[in-house]
Symmetry: C2
Subunit: 199 residues, 2 copies
Amino acid sequence: MQYPEPIAQLIESYMKLPGIGNKTATRLAFYTISMQDDDVTNFAKSLLSAKRDLHFCSICGNLTEDDPCPICQDKSRDQSTILVVEEPKDIISMEKMKEYHGLYHVLHGVLSPIEGTGPEDINIPSLLTRLQKDDTVKEVIVATNASSEGEATAMYLSRLIKPAGIKVTRLAHGLSVGADIDYADEMTLFKAVEGRTEL
Amino acid sequence: MQYPEPIAQLIESYMKLPGIGNKTATRLAFYTISMQDDDVTNFAKSLLSAKRDLHFCSICGNLTEDDPCPICQDKSRDQSTILVVEEPKDIISMEKMKEYHGLYHVLHGVLSPIEGTGPEDINIPSLLTRLQKDDTVKEVIVATNASSEGEATAMYLSRLIKPAGIKVTRLAHGLSVGADIDYADEMTLFKAVEGRTEL
């Protein structure tokens, strides 16, 4: 015996999400049936709307309803700095910090020879175009993740952009604020010692 | 800065699901945007369809598109046995076993004095009505979970139904097939010793 068709299809849909297997999908599907009508209707609507109404900004690659995105449109922001991130959600993390007021550029990935991701597969050409178009940009902050691919991408960008006379910087590595030293891994500790600052 | 409205709403919808917090909801929402159009459309459709097209069987309380459900309609099944489960999904587990050919009754919960769930709050009255209506039922198998509430519900049903001359049985407790004895908890081991069978 199978589940009734509507619930079998819902389980299948939930299973398409990352990290959700058969058991969790089944639990979520049964939970959905017990949810308020309105909540389920809104869920369905927001799925369709997220897919239909969101686009990538033609300038920076950020997720946005309008093109260009509100950040690229905001002339009060510091036009001389571009912070390069891997994914649109990294922009939100940066904006939550409230201390960065420049522009952004979203790569939508990192260089990865293993997965065959080259410079043309991610948003690197559009970054170069932005830098060539006018010479207002003085600094590119590479805020890719601290993974080996993130580091490699940062190195690649630095070699590409520096010759044009633009400063290329990378986020500092070190201990997280509030972190215990005995929980920190060796590489983080090494970076923290290497990058020590005078008091 | 906030997420664009469509994605903020999608994150909120995902957060209504059990066990999904802000971080996971955000990850799922961004993943949704990268999914195929068709998959997202089907997801939205299946959400609405599961909520709209599924009902509880008026006889046994199973989830079904048709009323009565296919199991209650199937006259070839053994009409003399009713297996009582807590939730509709338990029926699927039983049916996967392929060894039970009787009818079902879904309680949609268990007795729980702590949460204030009494016999009238779950599908016990409709079970009694079924048993009173005709005297074809000879055995009620109580397959509630092996939790304390499940046990209490089984005891309650047994006291209620036995006086009517209907056999009331409970699923056996013991070691799972393939289980290691040194991983079994004390209660399970006790039940396994108590219910030992002759070879």
